[in-house]
Amino acid sequence: MAPAAPPTPALSLRDVVALSGRFPLLAGVDLEVGTGEVVLVEGPNGAGKTSLLRVAAGLVPVTSGRLTVLGLDPERYRTAVRRRVGMLAHASHLYDDLNVRENVRFAVRAAGADPGRIGPACERLGLTGRLLRTSAAKLSAGQRRRVALAVLVARAPDLWLLDEPHAGLDASARTLLDELIGEAVATGATVVVASHEPELLEPLADRSVTVSGGRVTGERSIRSPVADVPVPVRAVGSAAPASGPPVERVGSAEPAAGPPEGVGSAAPAAGPPEGVGSAEPAAGPPVERVAHVA
């Protein structure tokens, strides 16, 4: 299904169904993410974006279908896989009674990563000086997220699963996040990002998949992988760059500054109201999808 996927995908889901009780979080997902790819997962609230990431992280068991993570069956090699997968979730997984440094140290050592990377990672995320000795309970939501990101950077996992990574971050942190993603990819990591603000991430992504109804319902390629660390300044939209203003990669915080329609959707005028830009909303994927079900 996935176009031109490299031989050993970093993440592969084949007809994966995952349930929460009787509710299908995922209702048959097919997705393949090649090593070194940055894949953007779009879709409205409740579409299954977070569930997709949680299943990939092994937090939600697969009821049927096949899931491999970094080429391994995560059920069998649970601990080994988890040490190589890093997830930025809604919660930051911090212990309120520990300070920032202790939280990062615990998480990094738990994953068996090199503790020597803790210092640089904290510095990179602006966690320095007094902040390092501040207990996690006193941090703001954005700061907690910075700590969680510092853990991720220090762990340097092979597969990054980022769930709404921009939420709660200020403009400078967003810029930083984009840089970090670029650097991770440059070192061979694979990144899957779920977001309902796709325009913020498109400059980074190779490919975008649309999730709705617990399935992957659309897919478009954004650009071929680019490995240079100072990520390009302009969004390489697939078509029609004329209509929208060139998007500064420096993810500007205010959504108002962005172009009115979903950046880089090929046919902006006919775009569906939800703006989850599938390439040709008028004819392409939806029809295929309906036929599939009926």
Partner: protein, 308 residues
């Protein structure tokens, strides 16, 4: 094509039901029903249990003679040990084995979970009956309703462990989660049983010497008494099996009521992706007002076209 896949999934998910030979049909066409064989078995066991108990009562109360030492009190021997056998060994042993089989990945099936649950619940009834019949026996012979005797105490301890298991089961949870949790609890409790047993026996014997129960309860067994005793064991075992079958079926129905149809749920979930979202809350920041209406109309038209 897709619909067959969905069916397979649902079967896969509901292995608990489909792996169970006694249950036919399932969630699609109304409640799961018992097969003819299962109904027949339940009935036969039930009738046999009633007849067996009736015979035991008749033999125990009228045919067998009173005991020299204990008089008519000895007639409790036809009931009490049988009840205790079911409660302490049969029910608990079955629950432990079924829980282990649930935890073992190759035999994992909700069948074992329901069986364990049924065994525990019926076992609790028998356990309480054991304690009550023991009390009734103890009052005239020992002069007390309750003695901190080793056997009584470990029976009561077992009852408390059983009750903990039932309390855990009562916590609302998805069937699979509940099954795993309960199976682990049963496993932990089962491992504790021998330790509790030894500790209670030593607690008693190492401290105060012989137990009350050892006194004078082994009179010479009359021929008819032996037969009645044996029949009592068989009859009570049949009662246990019958209650187990009925309770198991109730468990199936309970799960069915709670479940809804997975097929339907999957289709509804997939349909969410086809219909335009009711409230596109996500993208509110950016929707261009003029484009909204035509696009909103278009989406359903596509669906209609394709499904023709």
């Amino acid at each position: 094509m897709t619909s067959t896949v969905v069916t397979e999934r649902s079967d896969d998910h509901r292995r608990g039901d489909s792996a169970d030979p006694d249950l036919v049909g399932g969630t699609r066409n109304g409640p799961p029903v018992l097969s003819r064989g299962a109904v027949l078995t339940t009935r036969v066991v039930g009738v046999a249990a009633v007849v067996g108990v009736a015979f035991t009562v008749w033999l125990g109360l009228w045919v067998t003679p009173p005991d020299k030492v204990q008089g008519n009190l000895v007639r409790l021997v036809y009931i009490h040990p049988g009840v205790a056998w079911v409660a302490l060994y049969l029910a608990f042993g079955l629950a432990a084995v079924a829980s282990l089989l649930y935890l073992w990945p190759r035999t994992r099936s909700l069948f074992w979970d329901r069986l364990a649950a049924a065994a525990v619940e019926v076992g609790v009834v028998f356990n309480v009956c054991t304690l009550i019949s023991g009390s009734i026996w103890g009052r005239p012979t020992w002069g007390v309703w309750w003695a901190w005797d080793a056997r009584l105490t470990s029976t009561a301890a077992l009852l408390v462990l059983f009750l903990g298991y039932m309390a855990l089961r009562r916590v609302p949870a998805e069937p699979e989660v509940r099954a795993k949790r309960s199976a682990f609890a049963a496993l932990f409790a089962a491992l504790d049983v021998p330790i509790v047993h030894f500790s209670v026996v030593w607690w008693k014997t190492l401290h105060q010497g012989a137990t009350v129960l050892n006194a004078n309860l082994s009179p010479t067994i009359h021929g008819s008494m032996a037969w009645t005793l044996l029949l009592g064991f068989v009859a009570l075992t049949l009662v246990f099996v019958w209650m187990l079958l009925v309770r198991y079926r109730i468990g199936v129905l309970e799960d069915w009521v709670g479940s809804g149809e997975l097929d339907l749920a999957l289709r509804e979930r997939q349909a969410e992706g086809i219909a335009p979202p009711v409230a596109p809350a996500d993208v509110q920041p950016a929707p261009p007002a003029p484009a909204e209406t035509p696009a909103g109309r278009e989406a359903p038209r596509e669906i209609a076209e394709v499904s023709q």
